[in-house]
Symmetry: C2
């Protein structure tokens, strides 16, 4: 079962990498850029019988290793639904 | 207009960070982990009149700076639809 974890800095935390990228893009002529933040996407394939079972397991992984709860928030998404949504957005 | 960019290593490219995280998780007792790959998520807020216009602009940003086309693939997703999809997946 494939799920996707998005790990991002919490809202109050300064995103140094994002700020640097944003400044570089504005320098390249992207003056229409309002905000930019950088995080991690972790694609996980886990041996589970259902999407909810996979989510529970991946949530444990996030708590134990993948995310730092002091600095970061994470969200878990099923991969199939996200792909469908991405495809429909192209229409 | 908010869009989300996912930047991942191309399939053939060795993901050293992902391999290290995977080994660490297996060591923590997650023997049901089949595969894991790490990439970047970039949340971009761009001044555009529509989602397609924002996608075009962010695609230019990816080509010029955000992704390295030799090593990385990227996908652009609208943020609103993704949030709805993530919520519906929780039901």
């Amino acid at each position: 079962m494939k799920v996707r974890v998005l790990v991002r800095l919490r809202p109050g935390i300064m995103d140094v990498q994002g700020a640097a990228v944003q400044r570089a893009l504005v320098g390249l002529g992207f003056g229409d850029l309002r905000d930019l933040r950088v995080g991690k996407v972790i694609d996980v394939d886990v041996d589970a019988s259902s999407v909810p079972a996979a989510r529970v397991r991946v949530d444990e992984m996030c708590k134990k290793l993948l995310a730092n709860p002091v600095l970061e928030d994470y969200t878990i998404e099923p991969v199939e639904a996200s792909s469908l949504e991405a495809t429909s957005a192209l229409r």
